[in-house]
Structures are given as structure tokens and as C-alpha cells.
């Protein structure tokens, strides 16, 4: 039997004088038996067979690279698709009314009134950030910003939900500073304020940190751009950075292995799968894109992210007239000797692909020259229903683009609720031993405030620019970030992201509902009206039925909660395989909520003491709920029981009351109660406002339960003197429980809690602010 590899190397007529063989379509048709390294590229046997069926021959190297990357989990959503349909099924026409673009587009777009629209999305860049924290995080920011640019919007803010292993673990000291510097280094240089995000520590993220990146963009609602290649004869222009050997094959194997090309005869050494970002090039690309859009020079546009040109060309063609011809020799390269598969799979950053009318090409190029952006016509739109790619005069790709972009495999992965869920639920956190004396309660307040998950994030957020662009009205440590959109009308938006993955571990359905409820509440406490949802679903292996059960339950929880809250899910992102060996991460469905505020001058800050003689009120019901609580973790290292009860009608009511309170000037500060309960909320309101308070809990209250329970649907507010009666009447008229818990005391430099004692603000501040600098220097 002949050795097919040898045959390819020695008998190929397209290999004059020992140059590398061109695996053309014609060559592929002639060498059907050639062994192809599809398994190394992450394709299953049946997937490879399907490609052969579609093409009626074996794929060329370039085609194989394209299918493997586009049919990867990351690009094709093959394990999640069947579950994600549920988002669409639960979205009513009423919820959809303000949506200009939704799931399936680069990012969701929502009409916010006055002719403005907002687009927002969260994406994961988890594994690359573990391998190379700085560049992984930086290119994560770069990627999501390009997604937003591809919608025709100006990116206006970023926020980064981050999760790491234990705060005191050696590897966390490697990963966290690099990630934070990468997020800051890229975002600061782009001139995008970082206005939110999260930092969470948990053992389960030890070798699987989560680096999720959110970007928000603003556009006029009639300026929406779409990723489609329409208009036969229109030109395909690649612009931005040159194409190099970055992250080849990174996507198809989640950046953990490399596509070395050894099997394909190039003999190239193993290539690094990391990509290096250049924020300056991206900043210029943003301004260039906006000028191109403003001059109406673009018919369709797509960013190049994971899967690079493979993705951009096949998706643009699939969403357009169906055909495209590309001449790969025209692609500006950064490295020598790149073969077609490498050019198509390269994940070089800071690149975009536009469809441009032939008569506009000169004007397009002129704008690019102004910004010093490299731009090249690499092909044109056809009506052939084929994506045809030539290289050195031979056709190396000839595929129906929809089979690459849209018709990837779909899996019904086994789903099984693990039996251990019952054991976890039975391990009731309410039976853990509690602080009994005033001194023990006082010590618990301080210990909680200093714990890694509750302490001040200033060490992290102080490395992010939150002032640039001059429209930031609220940023961290506020519960939600608020931005002014329109300087004339003071219309603005708010965003928040949340997920308490301990709750999701105890009950993925309820936990996901809680995640959305908290993000919704965090937008509402700023005085904004929540209007839309996005998500970033981080889970373990899709091949673990227990993980798939967590995933299925979380999707259902998020979708059902969005429907109950009456706001649509406009998009999302899935990241599987966040696990080492048999240990998956805590299921982490991060929910992002977008809100609208008609008048940003009415935004509600977090710190107390802004108005004289404020009263402190607690809105909502406090129950004995400690399952998954931060107290059970910090004090007992415990995770068991059931998460707090969710009441979404209550969340809507809270949001309504906060909206009215903000509009009518009845609220001077507000803070959502979540991890750490009321005690932590009071600590933060006092320290952020640099003002003390005297707290007297209701007579029937158990101080421990009131201070540390994590019942959902609660907000602490401070109300200016003179507004208290009006505000409490508003609550009682609407049936929202409201208890007076104390007064703000401008004279006092302490948080005084009856039955607990006085804690000087200086002592609290030392506890709250000292932890991260001590750990990370």
C-alpha cells in the first residue's frame, strides 16, 4: 500500500523544485485517500465524514482548517445550541419590541429612546488568560470591543467579571495581577472607561480563572451595521493589522493545543497559541471604522476574532448573497511562508472585514490612509453560493459557506442531575454555629469585611481608567455603572454583571434566577430602569452529564427569569471545558443587565452622607437564609443547603420604587444587599460615603440573621430628612416592606450597631481596604 503522505510530497505536480505542495481542491479530488489530521484539529470521526459528504471529496488542508475551527464548540455552539433555543422560545413579541438586533448577531442592540440605541455583550477569554494572563485578558477586551464596533456602534465602556482561585494561592498571585494589568493596559489605551465588573475568588477557579469581558456601545438607531456580504460585485476589504502566526488553531482546541502544521508538510515548529494585542492599532481602528460608517461607505462589516478569516468570510457570505471569492495572495502578512490554512486560521488581533460597493473603494481607502490603517481588497461578493478561495493561482477552498458558518454539528449531550445534589441540599447551612455575643458579632462584621470576596476592589479598579470620555456618572464601587449618553438631554444607561456561583452550585436553576435578579437590582439601585439582558455562561466539560444538567438548568433559569422580569435576552456567550481533570468550576452563568435612566443627574450613589439628616431604611424581607452565603464560606468553609428564595415580582416592585424615588429625589443613597448581607452593605455605604451611622434593628429581629442573611430582593436606602414620610408612604402604597433601621450620623466617625457595638470607620477601613494590597502588593 502506498504511503499517501509520501505520495503527496513526491508526486504532486504543483510542487516544483521541492517547494511546499499546494493542497488544492483539484489535488484533494485526486488524492481521496490522503490521511488528514482531523482528530488533532478537534474534529470527531463523524464530523469529518460529514465534511467529506458535503464536499463530495476530502477537504483540502485549508478547508479542513476552516471547518475544524468553525465547527469547534467555541464557534458552533454545538453542545449548547439545543439548550439556547429556549431563550428564543421564552421571548415574547412584547419583550422583543425594543430589540433592533438579537441572538445570532455580533451583539444585541436595544432602542433606548430619542433615536439612540445601545449594544452590549460579554465574552469569555478564560483559558488564554490562564496561559498568558496579561495578553489573554488584553485580547479579551480587544475582541469584545471589535464585536461592538461591528454593530456600527462607538464603544463607550467596558467592564470585566473576573474569577480566580483562592486569593492566597501562589498561582493566583501570578494570574490576577497579569489579568488586571492586561484589562487595564488594553482598555485604558483604547480610551474606554471601565465602569463595573466583578472579582470573585473560589477554589474551583484555581486552574481555570474566568476572564469575561463586557463592552457597551452606543449608536443612532438608524446606524445599525450588519454582518452580511450582499451585492454581487461588491468588494471584500480586510483592514487593520497584518495577519501573522497568532493563535493558529487556538479556537478549535480552546487555545490549549497548537496546530503545528507538521502533518501538512510545512515542518514549522510548534507555534504559540497566544495572541498579542496592540491597543493603539485598535484605537485607531475604532476611529477609522466610525468615520467609514459615518460616510456610508460600508455595506456589511464583521470583526475578525476567533477563527479569523475563516469565520469572517464564511459568516459574511452565509448571511449575504451566499457567495464570495477571495484571493489569499492579497492578504497582508506579518510572517513569511504562511500557508493557506494558517492565513485562514490566524487569530491576529485588530482586524476587520468590510463589504464595500466598488464605487466607494477609493473613498474607503482614503479614510483608512488618514488613520494609517492598512486596507486591502481581498475579494468580492458573488451569487455562486460558494466561498471560493484562491492561493498562488490555485483554488484551495471551494465550499458552500452556510455549511461552514451555520450548519455545523448539533449535539444532544447526555444530561443527568447528579445524585450528590440531594446530599448538598441536605447539608443545611442554617444549622452552622453562629456568633452569639455582641463581641462575636462585631468580630464577624470585621472579619467578613476583610475577607477576599467582600473587601474593597480598589487595588484592581484603581488600575482602570473610569474617567475617560467624560460621561461616567457612576463606576465601581457602585453596584452598577452609569454613563451619560446624550449631553443635551442627560439620557443615560446603566450596566451591571453578577453571578453568585455558590448559589448556582446548590441549585443551578434558582442560582441563575438569582444571578439575573441581582444584576437587575444592581441596575435598579442606580435609579435606572432595566431593559435588556446578556450573559456569559461559564461551565465545565460539555461531555460531563452533570455539567450539562447545570447548564440546561441555568439556561432555563435565566430565560424564565428574564420572561418574568419582562426584559429580553439579547445575546450571550458560552464557555465550556473550564475544568481540570474531573473537577469542573462552579457553574457560573454571569448575567449582564442593561438599564436606561432618563436623567443621569438623578442617579443614586452608594455612599451615605450626601444629604443632611438621612434615615436608613431596609426594603424587602429578611429571612433565615444562609445556604451558599458568604458567612458560611468565610467562617465555616461550608457550601450546602439551598440558595435564597427568588421573588421576581418583588424585584420588579423594588425597581419601580427605586425608579420613582430617584426621579422624585426621595433617595440619597442606595445599595443592593447581596454577599455578606446587611452588615456588608452598611460597611460599604459608610466607607464610600465617609460617614458614620447608628443602626437600631427592629425589636423582633435576630441581629445575626438581620446582619448576615443573604435573602434576595433587598436594598438599603438612605432618605433625606423631609422625604422619609413620602418615601415610606410610596412603599406601603405599593406593598413593599420597608423597615427603618437607623440614621446617618454626620458627627459620628463610626458604624454603631445596637447589640453589636461601635466600630470606628478607621478600623473598618483598615479591614476592608487592607486585604488585596496585602495579597498582591
Amino acid at each position: 500500500m502506498t504511503d499517501p503522505t509520501r505520495e503527496a510530497a513526491t508526486q504532486d505536480p504543483a510542487t516544483p523544485n521541492g517547494a511546499e505542495p499546494v493542497d488544492s481542491v483539484e489535488h484533494a479530488a485526486r488524492t481521496p485517500e490522503l490521511d488528514q489530521p482531523y482528530r488533532e484539529l478537534g474534529l470527531a470521526d463523524d464530523e469529518y465524514e460529514r465534511i467529506r459528504e458535503i464536499l463530495g471529496r476530502r477537504p483540502t488542508e485549508a478547508e479542513l482548517a476552516m471547518y475544524s475551527v468553525m465547527w469547534s464548540e467555541h464557534c458552533s455552539y454545538k453542545s449548547s445550541k439545543t439548550h439556547l433555543k429556549y431563550f428564543g422560545e421564552t421571548t415574547t413579541d412584547e419583550m422583543r419590541a425594543k430589540m433592533l438586533a438579537g441572538i445570532g448577531e455580533n451583539a444585541g442592540v436595544v432602542d433606548i429612546g430619542d433615536g439612540w440605541a445601545v449594544t452590549f455583550k460579554v465574552e469569555s477569554h478564560n483559558h488564554p488568560s490562564y496561559v498568558e494572563p496579561y495578553q489573554g485578558a488584553a485580547t479579551g477586551v480587544g475582541g469584545i470591543v471589535r464585536d461592538i464596533m461591528a454593530m456600527g456602534a462607538r464603544p463607550v465602556a467596558v467592564a470585566d467579571p473576573l474569577r480566580f482561585g483562592p486569593a492566597d494561592a501562589a498561582d493566583t498571585r501570578r494570574v490576577l495581577p497579569g489579568v488586571v494589568e492586561g484589562v487595564g493596559g488594553y482598555g485604558n489605551c483604547l480610551g474606554l472607561p471601565n465602569i463595573g465588573g466583578e472579582v470573585v475568588f473560589d477554589e474551583s477557579y484555581a486552574r481555570n480563572p474566568l476572564v469575561n469581558a463586557m463592552c457597551v456601545g452606543v449608536l443612532k438607531s438608524d446606524e445599525l451595521q450588519l454582518a452580511h456580504a450582499t451585492g454581487t460585485g461588491n468588494k471584500v476589504i480586510l483592514f487593520g493589522a497584518r495577519t501573522g502566526l497568532d493563535g493558529i488553531g487556538g479556537v478549535s482546541v480552546l487555545a490549549s493545543e497548537t496546530f503545528s502544521g507538521d502533518e501538512t508538510g510545512s515542518g514549522r515548529k510548534k507555534l504559540p497559541s497566544v495572541q498579542v494585542g496592540d491597543p493603539f492599532t485598535e484605537k485607531v481602528l475604532i476611529e477609522c471604522c466610525l468615520e467609514l460608517y459615518g460616510s456610508d461607505l460600508v455595506v456589511g462589516v464583521q470583526d475578525l476574532g476567533g477563527a479569523g478569516l475563516s469565520c469572517a468570510t464564511s459568516e459574511l457570505a452565509a448571511a449575504g448573497d451566499g457567495g464570495m471569492r477571495i484571493d489569499l495572495d492579497t492578504v497582508p502578512l506579518r510572517a513569511e511562508g504562511m500557508n493557506p490554512a494558517e492565513i485562514l486560521s490566524s487569530e491576529s488581533q485588530e482586524r476587520m472585514c468590510a463589504i464595500v460597493r466598488p464605487e466607494d473603494v477609493d473613498s474607503f481607502m482614503a479614510v483608512c490612509r488618514k488613520w494609517d490603517v492598512t486596507a486591502t481588497v481581498i475579494g468580492e461578493v458573488t451569487d455562486e453560493e460558494h466561498l471560493r478561495i484562491d492561493w498562488r493561482g490555485e483554488c484551495v477552498v471551494d465550499v458552500p459557506p452556510r455549511t461552514v458558518a451555520d450548519e455545523g454539528p448539533v449535539y444532544q449531550r447526555p444530561v443527568r442531575r447528579p445524585a450528590e445534589q440531594d446530599l448538598i441540599a441536605a447539608d443545611d447551612a442554617n444549622t452552622l454555629s453562629r456568633p452569639a455575643t455582641a463581641a462575636e458579632l462585631r468580630e464577624t462584621v470585621l472579619r467578613m469585611a476583610a475577607s477576599p470576596n467582600l473587601c474593597s476592589r480598589e487595588w484592581v479598579t484603581g488600575q482602570y481608567d473610569h474617567y475617560v470620555r467624560g460621561n461616567t456618572v457612576l463606576a465601581q464601587p457602585s453596584d452598577g455603572g452609569v454613563l451619560r449618553v446624550d449631553e443635551e438631554t442627560d439620557r443615560g444607561i446603566a450596566v451591571a454583571t453578577d453571578c453568585n456561583a455558590r448559589y448556582t452550585r446548590l441549585d443551578p436553576y434558582e442560582g441563575a434566577r438569582l444571578a439575573l435578579a441581582e444584576a437587575y437590582r444592581n441596575v435598579a439601585v442606580t435609579g435606572s430602569k432595566p431593559v435588556a439582558v446578556t450573559n456569559c455562561l461559564n461551565f465545565g466539560s460539555a461531555e460531563d452529564p452533570g455539567v450539562m444538567w447545570q447548564f440546561q438548568q441555568s439556561v432555563r433559569g435565566l430565560a424564565d427569569a428574564a420572561a418574568e422580569l419582562g426584559i429580553p435576552v439579547t445575546g450571550g456567550n458560552v464557555s465550556f471545558y473550564n475544568q481540570t481533570g474531573g473537577d469542573p468550576i462552579l457553574p457560573t452563568p454571569v448575567a449582564g443587565v442593561l438599564g436606561v435612566i432618563d436623567d443621569v443627574t438623578a442617579r443614586i450613589p452608594t455612599g451615605i452622607g450626601a444629604a443632611p439628616g438621612e434615615s436608613l431604611l431596609l426594603l424587602g424581607d429578611t429571612r433565615e437564609e444562609f445556604g451558599g452565603s458568604e458567612w458560611s464560606r468565610v467562617v465555616h468553609g461550608h457550601l450546602g443547603g439551598t440558595p435564597p428564595r427568588v421573588d421576581l415580582a418583588r424585584e420588579r416592585l423594588l425597581a419601580d420604587v427605586l425608579g420613582i424615588g430617584s426621579r422624585d429625589g426621595l433617595i440619597s443613597a442606595a445599595h443592593d444587599l447581596s454577599e455578606g448581607g446587611l452588615a456588608q452593605a452598611l460597611v460599604e455605604m459608610s466607607l464610600i460615603g465617609e460617614t458614620g451611622a447608628r443602626i437600631v434593628l427592629p425589636e423582633e429581629a435576630d441581629p445575626f440573621v438581620w446582619l448576615f442573611a443573604e435573602s434576595a430582593g433587598r436594598v438599603a436606602v438612605s432618605v433625606p430628612r423631609g422625604a422619609e414620610l413620602k418615601f415610606t408612604e410610596l412603599c406601603s402604597a405599593r406593598g413593599l416592606p420597608c423597615s427603618k433601621i437607623g440614621v446617618v450620623d454626620d458627627e459620628s466617625r463610626a458604624l454603631e450597631i445596637q447589640g453589636v457595638g461601635d466600630i470606628p470607620l478607621s478600623e473598618l477601613r483598615e479591614a476592608w481596604e487592607g486585604t488585596l494590597p496585602r495579597l498582591f502588593g
Binding site: 494589568e181 485604558n188 485607531v284 484603581g462
Partner: protein, 228 residues
């Protein structure tokens, strides 16, 4: 000249970030803002120039090292020589130092991290074009946001700056970057060209900044232009 008749130019380099904020601050002070393009060897008849914050040309070689060669900077240096008021903020301060309009250099923060925070400053000198609206000794709360803001110059240079009253602002309540002698901002011999690391353009409205303490710098320059 009326206030609105005063035209203050703001340069945009590729990589400028706070140009829009600087222009907003100029408008808020009551003057007219004029955009100046880095590649344009033309100041379009402006009465003063602001070199804003950002990362001009990516700032990869050294902050401001490439921007000083921009065609517009040749014109700025020429105009400054003839007495035109020039303000450099953050990256703009770095550019003015690289261009030789101000002495010294800005180096990496002593803490090695980028720092974004609200910073207290003390006004040392209120006789420069950009600081007449402030009382000497007044304390201002203005954002800083930079990774390379540690002001460094040789001792004789620092002595001369202090002796001539050319230190405009010093950091108080903590030096955020290790600047020598807590220097946050300086001016040239004539008090017309000023540079500082803090961002007065981000403190012109308490809605979006910690205070409106920065507005005084723009109003100060405007007073001079209107009086001229």
C-alpha cells in the same frame, strides 16, 4: 475679545484619548474649541493650544517621544516661542517635556502600576496663565490616571523651578507616583506653557468628576486671552 471669541485648539494625535474631554472643558469655560490634527502643520488661528491626554502613537517607544515630531507640534513649539499659552495634560505634559518646552521627564510610577484615583493637589503658584483663578495654597481634588507620571529632573533644575516659582501644583495627601518633590505640574519661564499629570478636564462638572476644581485652569487662560 469676548470669552466666546477666544479659540482654544485641542490636538488629536492617533491614540489621543482625552481630546473630547478637553474640548468639552473649553466649551464649559465659555470659549470656542477647535480640533487640531496631528498631521496638519497649521494651528488654524487659535489663541491657545491644549495637548491632551492619551497614548499618542501608542507611546511604545517613550511617552511623547514620537508625538514631538508631528507636524502640528512644530507649529506649537513655534507659537509657544511667540508667547501662545499652551497646556499639556498627562500625555500632553510628556509631549511638552519631550519637545523641550518644559524641563524634566515623566517616568514610570514608583508603584509600577497604572493609577486612576481622585488626587488632592495644592496650588503653589497662581501667576501663570493657567492658574490665575486659584488662591495660592488652595487645595483641589482632581483625577489622576497614568502609568508614567513620576516627574524627574536633576536637582539644579528642580531648585531653579522652585526658586522661580514655576511649580504650579504639588501632590498632597500622598504622592501617587513618586514624583520628585511631589511635583504635579510646572510652567515655563514666562508662565505661558504649563504641563501637569492630573486631569483638570475631568474635573469640570461634579456629575462626571469628583469636583469642578479643574475648571479654573481653563477660566484662567480665558481671562488672559480676553484681556489681551
Amino acid at each position: 475679545m469676548s470669552a466666546a471669541g477666544a479659540r482654544i485648539g485641542v490636538i488629536t494625535f492617533p491614540g489621543s484619548l482625552d481630546d473630547g474631554d478637553a474640548r468639552r472643558a473649553v466649551r464649559r469655560a465659555g470659549a470656542s474649541d477647535v480640533g487640531l490634527w496631528h498631521g496638519d502643520a497649521d494651528l488654524h488661528g487659535v489663541d491657545a493650544v491644549i495637548v491632551p491626554g492619551g497614548f499618542s502613537y501608542g507611546d511604545y517607544l517613550r511617552c511623547g517621544a514620537i508625538a514631538k515630531f508631528a507636524p502640528v507640534m512644530t507649529e506649537v513649539v513655534r507659537a509657544a516661542g511667540q508667547g501662545m499659552p499652551v497646556l499639556g495634560v498627562c500625555n500632553g505634559f510628556q509631549v511638552l517635556c519631550e519637545a523641550g518646552l518644559l524641563p524634566g521627564v515623566l517616568t514610570r510610577n514608583s508603584g509600577l502600576h497604572y493609577v486612576c484615583r481622585d488626587q488632592w493637589l495644592r496650588v503653589d503658584n497662581n501667576t501663570s496663565t493657567w492658574t490665575t483663578r486659584y488662591e495660592p495654597g488652595a487645595e483641589l481634588l482632581i483625577p489622576i490616571k497614568h502609568g508614567e507620571g513620576r516627574y524627574v529632573a536633576e536637582d539644579p533644575v528642580l531648585d531653579r523651578l522652585e526658586g522661580d516659582g514655576r511649580v504650579l501644583f504639588r501632590y498632597v495627601d500622598g504622592n501617587p507616583n513618586g514624583s520628585r518633590r511631589d511635583i504635579a505640574g510646572i510652567t515655563d519661564e514666562r508662565g505661558r506653557v504649563a504641563g501637569l499629570m492630573p486631569h483638570p478636564e475631568h474635573a469640570v462638572d461634579p456629575l462626571t468628576g469628583p469636583t469642578d476644581d479643574g475648571l479654573g485652569m481653563f477660566l484662567s487662560a480665558l481671562d488672559t486671552l480676553v484681556a489681551a
